[in-house]
Amino acid sequence: MIEFISGSMFFGITLSIVAYGVGLLIMRRFNIFIFNPLLVSIALTIIFLLATGIDYQSYNNSAKYLSYLLTPATVCLAIPLYEQIMLLKKNFTAIMVGIAAGVFFGLLTIFVMALMFALGHYEYVTLLPKSITTAIGIGLSEELAGCVPITVTSIMITGLFGNIAGKGICRLFGIEHPVAKGVAIGTSAHVMGTTKAMEMGEVEGAMSSLSVAVAGGMTVLGAILFSTFL
């Protein structure tokens, strides 16, 4: 059976979709933020793989076709942005300054915490790209000579956390304006956060998508500067 699964072209995709379906069902039933569909489906998939002893490579043999759609799907984030173009023009300065401030303080926080934890240069530059979308983060981590798998891990933790807690953080810190919510989530938790912003509303989703791209660009420049500090 295991051998059959390892060679199967549809096992990984099926497992991911079933796990995601279960995640959605649980979310609908309980509606508590910790039962986030993304978190639940990832946990279920990992548990299933560990329990059956199927290795990641066999799973990814077929699941990689889902990852393959990630690029076109991210490209599509331009559509809601285009639909909200008037709002973007109207609030252009506020959005750009907000993203820049977020990126700067994000890098600063990582710098301060790296000092507190007495991390070396290698660990420090590995974590600098953590708030940006995976594809840019990988490129930046390589550029800074960091450890790419760990960068990806920190990006995933960030995205997952932003997806789960983004809404709560906005409420807790009095971020009420839909444009500001979108900027907050997109700048802090890249595309994974944006999927949540999309659920919150069209404006939030569009502003979040924009922030992912802009914050990505700003972080590349900022991180190269910050990498010389430690």
Binding site: G12, A19, Y20, P37, L38, S41, A63, L66, S67, T71, P72, A73, V75, C76, A78, I79, L81, E83, I85, N91, A94, I95, V97, G98, A101, G102, V103, F105, T109, I110, M113, L119, L127, K130, S131, A135, I136, P149, I150, V152, T153, M156, I157, F161, G162, N163, A165, C170, H177, V179, A180, V183, A184, I185, S188, A189, T194, T195, M198, V212
Partner: protein, 110 residues
Amino acid sequence: MILAVSFVGELLNRLLPLPVPASIYGMIILFVALCCGFIKLSSVKIVGKFLIDILPLLFIPATVGLIEAWDTMQSFIVEIVVISLLSTVVVAVVSGRVTQFIIKKRNCND
């Protein structure tokens, strides 16, 4: 159409020596093309909506891949998690509050 845009994005990603991923090039190209009327909204809207709807699902395989990296990061996993969570909150609060502050200030001036 969307695949074509993704392909052009990929091409730019290979040709230009910048750490900009194909998806971000593609996003910019699609946005500009929609603004110029080069691509009609109606021609991408349905597929686009579908892809955005299933976006969370598309993240599962890559994230599950973390189990592969487990051994390399075990030594400083606590630091990774703490720094990741805390800086995410800082970025969200700063960027959100600053944006909101400027929007409100300008609305008062109007």
